[in-house]
């Protein structure tokens, strides 16, 4: 039984009882399939219980029968707002296990794609916070610019949402001129729009009243709950995998990690905002570095790993070796060296980890995804306890809960 709140009322009176409210699993405000069973005292939440698993698809089990390339499509469907980030993270995990060293140009191209994915992820999250506080305009306005990001994905890999982008060792093809033109267009048009979006919110009286001081979590509690990503940084802890364990040559870039102080909805919003500016700066640096490659180096888009990197189609028809590798890779008959590797990337929501155990077979013996969403969602019932229902909605969206990532 939830605690009794209004002690002045006589025992058994109707005002003294709490109401049970199901928030989700298909409520539009949850932005995903998960349920919260709330015990309400009027508008106040007395107790919240979170239920997840509505779109559990057993990825870890499926992965135990799949060759490495077929697992990339599973990672797409974790955090589908930033699918390329998951793809790259998975490929880097494989490279770590297989000992494949990627050329610098591949690293920089990956950085461009990963930061674009981060922008599109944060963009969705922040504009949804706007929607939940009553500002639909911003959401519709910036959605147009996510489209530009998706067009870049489309140009690079052919798909938009679940991208299945890249290969072990690099990309499936070199970036076309059109891709770079589209990137330039994005870099030119997006900052002004994002500035407008910021102006709409950051000093907006209504928005500040709705977000400041609501949904707060202290740094100690956030750490204890294993928070990562923007949600941890909003509480004031500067942990970022890109800096703590640089992958894909992130050590070559100059950027800052924004941190908040209070860990409330407003700080989470502001941290994500600033991360978008930082991502833009990283993309510009990476694009500059990509342009600096001259001669044959300027055409490098994959590592020299013939046993794992799918060969060019022209070579498959003309070269025996390429044909054999093509067959082995496509049929999933490449043996993976045995080993045990943990690799983490800074996903849209935090540390996205891949724990891969191989016993020397063709598929992983065990693959575990460390999904940041799943881990920090358990703090939700603690955060929303004794707050108002409408604040709980904003908290839900500012934590950026992605059901696909939560349930795996």
């Amino acid at each position: 039984m939830p605690e009794q709140v209004n002690i002045n009322l006589p025992e058994g009176s109707i005002e003294k009882q709490t109401t049970r409210l199901n928030l989700g699993p298909t409520h539009p405000a949850t932005h995903g399939v998960f349920q919260n069973i709330l015990e309400m005292d009027g508008e106040r939440i007395v107790k919240a219980e979170s239920t997840v698993g509505y779109i559990h698809r057993a990825f870890e089990k499926l992965a135990e029968r799949r060759p490495l390339y077929q697992i990339t499509t599973l990672t797409d469907r974790l955090n589908y707002c930033s699918a390329p980030l998951n793809n790259m993270g998975w490929h880097m995990t494989c490279e770590k296990l297989l000992g494949v060293k990627t050329p610098k140009r591949v690293d920089y191209l990956r950085v461009i794609i990963m930061e674009l994915a981060r922008i599109s992820d944060h963009l969705i999250c922040n504009s949804i916070v706007g929607v939940d506080t009553g500002a639909y305009t911003g959401f519709l306005y910036v959605m147009q610019y996510r489209e530009l990001v998706y067009e870049i994905y489309e140009e690079v890999c052919g798909s938009r949402l679940t991208t299945n982008m890249g290969r072990i060792g690099g990309f499936e093809r070199n970036f076309s001129d059109t891709a770079f033109r589209k990137l330039e267009k994005f870099l030119e048009e997006f900052p002004g729009v994002w500035k407008e979006f910021e102006n709409l919110f950051t000093r907006n009286r209504i928005f500040i009243e709705r977000t400041q001081g609501t949904g707060a979590i202290s740094a100690e509690r956030a750490l204890n709950y294993s928070f990562t990503g923007p949600n941890l940084r909003a509480a004031g802890i500067d942990y970022d995998v890109r800096v703590h364990a640089p992958y894909s040559s992130y050590e070559d870039f100059d950027f800052i990690i924004p941190v908040g102080t209070t860990g409330d909805n407003y700080d989470r919003f502001m941290v994500r905002n600033e991360e978008i500016w930082q991502s833009l700066s990283i993309i510009r640096q990476a694009y500059q570095k990509v342009q600096d490659f001259k001669g044959t180096e300027a055409d490098v888009y994959h590592a020299d790993a013939p046993a794992y990197y799918l060969p060019e189609k022209a070579d498959v028809y003309t070269k025996m070796e390429a044909l054999i590798y093509h067959f082995k890779i496509v049929m999933g008959e490449t043996e993976i060296p045995s080993g045990e590797v943990y690799h983490a990337v800074e996903g849209g929501n935090g540390e996205l980890g891949f724990y891969l155990i191989s016993d020397g077979g063709r598929a992983p013996f065990r693959l575990h995804f460390r999904r940041p969403c799943f881990i920090y969602y358990q703090a939700y019932s603690e955060i929303v306890k004794d707050t108002m229902l409408s604040d709980a909605i904003v908290t839900l969206s500012s934590l950026n809960l992605i059901a696909g990532e939560m349930d795996a």
Binding site: S226, I237, E340, Y342, F365
Partner: protein, 167 residues
């Protein structure tokens, strides 16, 4: 291995001696295996000792090794010292017949759902866990699906062949 890893090894070895069954260093992460009864003691030491300071729990998961007699199930902890930026992996092996392990929820609130997930998929019984229920699968499920005795369908099976439509 750097000196910091040596310090970690020394402190843990001094405390637990031969209860630590193995040290490994696969792909740049210090890993050790400890007797299952000492998992919570080891976690507490890793948390409390000022020279260790592993106060961030990255992950808990399970692994099933059906061929290892008497230690079929593994529980793997990934810990992180954020201040010194060192990661460590701790493993314990328990028999599938009696998969009892002490919970880490007293140290880490975040361990709650991670352990529920591990219970959900491997049936590891975390002693002292405040709310050990299934988290992703349905409550009515009466088996632990990530154990190896539940194979996915064999892609080469022929008994389902259909002349008209294939498989």
């Amino acid at each position: 291995m750097s000196t910091h890893y040596d310090t970690i090894r020394e402190i843990l070895s001094r405390q637990f001696g031969d209860r630590i069954l193995a040290w490994e260093f696969p792909y740049g992460m210090l890993s050790f295996t400890i007797q299952p009864e000492f998992n919570l003691k080891a976690l507490t030491l890793l948390y409390d000792d000022p020279d260790l300071g592993f106060q961030f729990l990255t992950d808990i998961t399970g692994v099933h090794y059906p061929e290892r007699e008497g230690q079929e199930l593994a529980v793997v902890y990934h810990l992180h010292n954020l201040a010194k930026n060192v990661r460590i992996r701790m493993k314990i092996y328990v028999p599938v017949a009696k998969p009892d392990v002490y919970t880490a929820t007293g140290l880490f609130s975040g361990a709650n759902w991670m352990e529920r997930e591990t219970y959900d998929f491997f049936g590891i019984n975390f002693i002292g866990h405040p709310d050990l229920r299934r988290v992703l699968n349905v409550d009515e499920m009466d088996y632990f699906p990530l154990r190896k005795e539940f194979p996915l369908e064999d892609q080469t099976r022929i008994d389902k062949d259909d002349e008209m439509f294939g498989r």
